[in-house]
């Protein structure tokens, strides 16, 4: 999301999900909403039924790709080349929105000079997508009246993740496809509250509400509210904390509800760090790979056991309500308050609504939100005051950057951190399936779901399977430079020759033992989406 923040101002989707029904073009990029976000896919399907044209950029032949007017089956890691190529076609044909570029953006000349290097021949070579398809995608997108780009983790989970988002913003800006209903950029995130968790500040360089710790006026505001001095130096990112643990410099970690020992890429590294740290506290609702490493495990309360709010992918702050008492007696917010008090910084709230009131007083985009207002329906931020209705469409007149202008940023193709070679000839793409969720600690304990999807399967094309002599549901070994796992193979035309697919939902086949340590240098998001593997019949 750092990408959208750089180009447009806010790291968030620009429109409401329900507006998808009225778009006339959908450019779906690196996302398989039918599996990852099924209810968003219903809105998209509604848009398609209403006549929207469809462009799909995905190396996998997904449900949407099968129905696409143009399917850009690009090589993993070639997103920037693809998008630069499309922008170049648009500019060469004069299909851009000149008025929008002139009035609402800056940096256009740099972009123009850069994308000129991405002529069709070069882009075809880099992406593997036929020229006609690139031209057709450019034509359809630029000629649409109400075009939405919907992108997913296939865009962000690369070492160029942030840049990929910027490249998408460049495309939308060139055509002026922002700032109107059913026209914009929607990011589909992985976990339910990624948006809220980013908004509210468990980040090393920003205080809640994306307010930089480096700014004295920001620190002053929080110091006054919290009654402590705040260090102006940004803290360490999670990756850096783990690195320092291995070096012996980092001593204590409190992990709230995460499972890096299964979901982080390059598991050997993470596990080494969790072993090395002197004191590890993990709070979770269920045992995970990470709780094994803990010195103290604290029981977490599930979403059914506590009051609070989540902020969804369209910036809507919605209520979570306590349906049953916390099984272990305390909700997570109460545990944090108690621990803080014991450590000498008293925290006391009677109800999470009081925490939200405090948030509203410190974070402008949440300024008008309180529990009474969101009792019936959630509100979309920015909602700065108590009488503000919330914001369905961002940037209708100004971008939230200095000067109100959006920024073009010229980018170059870099590719994946690890490319297939002789020894590791296949590209492993990891992702999600509809039935399971993340580390599977929750869905893996839902009997019906376990019955229908009991184990990990390696999705492989018929061509590759027959070349390797592998039959459907036969055991194979998948190995990378970092590790090896054994799984059954599932032959499917969803995988293109050369690419194979695994999820990371199962503890019996830890696919992240294989994935690489390459990361987006800006956000630290790991390159889950592609690494090089070899496959051997067992």
């Amino acid at each position: 999301m750092a990408g959208l923040a750089t180009s447009l101002g806010a790291g968030a989707s620009t429109n409401s999900l329900s507006q998808m029904a009225d778009m006339d073009l959908l450019f779906l990029f690196g996302s398989n909403p039918n599996e990852g976000h099924p209810i968003i896919s219903l809105w998209l399907k509604k848009g398609l039924r209403n006549g929207a044209k469809l462009i799909v950029g995905d190396p996998r032949k997904t449900w949407m790709a099968r129905r696409a007017d143009v399917w850009l089956n690009l090589k993993p890691g070639s997103n920037i080349a693809m998008l630069n190529g499309i922008v170049n076609v648009i500019l060469e044909n004069g299909w851009e929105n000149r008025e929008f570029i002139a009035k609402r953006t800056e940096g256009f000349e740099e972009l123009k000079a850069k994308v000129r290097e991405y002529d069709l021949d070069r882009v075809e070579t880099l992406t593997g997508v036929a020229k006609e398809n690139i031209i057709e995608a450019a034509r359809l997108y630029s000629h649409a009246k109400k075009a939405m780009v919907v992108y997913g983790l296939g865009v962000t989970e690369h070492q160029t993740g942030t840049e990929n988002c910027i490249a998408i913003a460049n495309l939308a800006l060139v055509c002026g496809h922002l700032g109107k209903p059913s026209t914009g950029i929607m990011a589909l995130r992985g976990q339910n509250n990624v948006q809220g968790a980013s908004d509210l500040g468990p980040l090393p360089a920003t205080l809640p509400g994306y307010q930089s710790v480096a700014l004295p006026e920001v620190r002053e505001k929080f110091e006054k509210a919290w009654g402590v001095k705040i260090d102006p130096k940004p803290g360490l990112k999670s990756v850096e904390m783990l690195d320092e643990c291995r070096r012996g410099n980092f001593k204590g970690i409190f992990i709230l509800g995460e499972d890096p020992a299964q979901t982080d890429p390059d598991l050997h590294h993470v596990r080494g760090a969790l072993e090395a740290v002197e004191f590890l506290v993990v709070q979770d609702i269920l045992p995970t790979e990470t709780t094994n490493f803990a010195d103290v495990i604290l029981p977490g309360a599930s979403f059914a056991e506590k009051d609070g709010t989540f902020t969804n992918g369209e910036r809507r702050v919605q209520r979570v309500r306590k349906a049953i008492e916390p099984l272990a007696g305390m909700a997570d917010w109460e545990v944090i308050c108690k621990l803080s008090t014991l450590m000498g910084y008293p925290m006391h709230y009677n109800h999470p609504s009081e925490i939200m009131d405090e948030i509203a007083s410190l974070v402008r985009i949440y300024g008008g939100i309180n529990y009474a207002r969101i009792e019936k329906q959630g509100i979309q931020w920015p909602c700065p005051t108590k009488d503000h209705p919330g914001t369905t469409t961002l940037y209708t007149d100004l971008f939230s950057r200095p000067g109100g202008l959006a920024k073009f940023i010229a980018l170059d193709h870099k590719g994946s951190g690890e490319l297939p070679d002789k020894e590791y000839p296949y590209v492993l793409i990891t992702g999600r399936i509809r039935e399971h969720y993340n580390n599977g600690s929750m869905t893996g304990r839902c009997s019906g779901i376990v019955e229908i999807v009991p184990e990990e399967l390696l999705e492989i094309s018929a061509e590759d399977a027959s070349a390797l002599g592998i039959g459907h549901l036969e055991q194979v070994s998948v190995s990378s430079r970092r590790g090896e796992i054994k799984v059954k193979a599932k032959i499917t035309d969803r995988s293109q020759p050369g690419n194979v697919f695994l999820t990371f939902h199962h503890r019996n086949a830890l696919s992240n033992l294989l994935t690489s340590g390459f990361r987006d240098p800006i956000t630290g998001t790991p390159e889950y989406k592609s690494c090089a593997v070899r496959i051997d019949k067992l």
Partner: protein, 370 residues
């Protein structure tokens, strides 16, 4: 998933009162918005109008025959009557036809108390006690009609199908084909033998079905029910708590149905701004982890590589003193926290505050970054 229709206002007259409504609505929608009751069985606001059950008939001035309100768009100046003896008679006829092939096992039926057919039959007094002439024929056809006698099907983990209770409203097949676009079920067979079923009557499996339970959520009777929720309680015995899904970032709302401090079922929330009553497999059927026997129920402290149960006071006391000790010895910069995109906004805010205030560093991060 209706789209918002922002059109001009149209004035109509319903049962002699004047209503001002958004153009583009149907007579049924306009009446329901104004809290005027019209019975329906084949209508679901997530679906396109169908006009199959013939219960929503209304009289419209200028038309000699009643019209189905769910398929008739409102027009300026329209005059509508929703209740009359003739409409009641017509509705009773349609109901009698439906009931003529419906089992009367209401005492132990899963849907009792939450069944649209039962409610409408009750409202229209389908016992027809003391009636004569044409109505008397209705009774006998209702009670003595030829009935299906098909076995109940529990051939998959999530959805139970009791074909005998199907009233062929096609809500399930329409939602599956038009909204989910999964194409799992269709009305198969002809005439008296038609049924909503899968191709070749194969069990639902991942090969043909998404297990979203959308078909169950729309079924007006007990023909389709959530298998895991069966026998766990009547709707009126359960507390319905509206909440937001814990899985993906779509932010669907639904009701957790709670009985005896246990979540036993999930049901749709039609007013939800994002999902409008729709759910996927995880939202609808992904709740049993809440009461999993594996849940961590008490704090655990590791000693010599083994975990021992502890009280909250012991565990939090240990954590607080150990963190304090590390901070005092090595400095606040050596202690930090990871928070989760699965936790609430309030918890994320508090963790950020905790690390900055109680620990005294900025070492707080959202570890997944996805």
């Amino acid at each position: 998933m209706g789209t918002t229709i922002s059109g001009k206002l149209v004035t109509i007259k319903v049962n002699n009162s004047v209503l001002s409504c958004q153009s583009g609505k149907t007579v049924l929608e306009a009446c329901r918005d104004a809290n005027i009751k019209i019975p329906t069985l084949c209508y679901d606001k997530r679906l396109e109008p169908y006009g199959g059950c013939r219960l929503c008939l209304v009289e419209v001035k200028g038309f000699s025959k009643p019209l189905s309100s769910c398929t008739t768009p409102i027009e300026e100046g329209m005059e509508i009557i929703t209740e009359s003896d003739e409409l009641t008679r017509l509705r009773k006829t349609s109901l009698a036809l439906i009931l003529s092939n419906h089992p009367f096992d209401c005492p132990h039926c899963e849907k009792t108390g939450d069944c649209q057919l039962q409610d409408i039959a009750y409202e229209y007094g389908c016992d027809w006690e003391g009636s004569n002439g044409r109505d008397a024929q209705l009774i006998s056809s209702t009670l003595n009609g030829e009935k299906w006698d098909l076995p109940r099907r529990d051939d998959n983990p999530f959805i139970t199908f009791e074909p005998n209770k199907c009233i062929l409203c096609a809500r399930c097949t329409r939602i599956c084909n038009h909204v989910v676009m999964a194409g799992t079920i269709d009305i198969t067979g002809k005439g008296f033998d038609s049924l909503p079923d899968t191709a070749f009557r194969r069990p639902r499996s991942l090969e043909n079905c998404e297990f979203c339970g959308q078909c169950v959520s729309t079924c007006p009777t007990a023909a389709l029910t959530d298998r895991q929720g069966r026998g766990k309680g009547r709707k009126y015995q359960m507390k319905q708590v509206k909440t937001t899904c814990t899985y993906c970032g779509t932010g669907c709302n639904f009701f957790l149905n709670v009985k005896n401090n246990k979540v036993v079922k999930v049901t749709s929330d039609y007013d939800a701004p994002v999902n409008r009553g729709n759910l996927c497999i995880k939202g609808r059927y992904g709740y049993d982890f809440i009461h999993s026997k594996d849940r961590i129920q008490t704090p655990l402290i590791k000693r010599n590589g083994k975990f021992y149960e502890a009280t909250w006071d012991e565990a939090l006391g240990l954590v607080a003193s150990k963190f304090r000790e590390l901070i005092d010895k090595y400095g606040p910069g050596t202690v930090g926290g990871f928070s989760s995109s699965r936790c609430t906004n309030e918890e994320n805010y508090l963790l950020s505050k905790f690390v900055r205030c109680a620990v005294g560093s900025n070492n707080v991060d959202n570890c997944a970054r996805v």
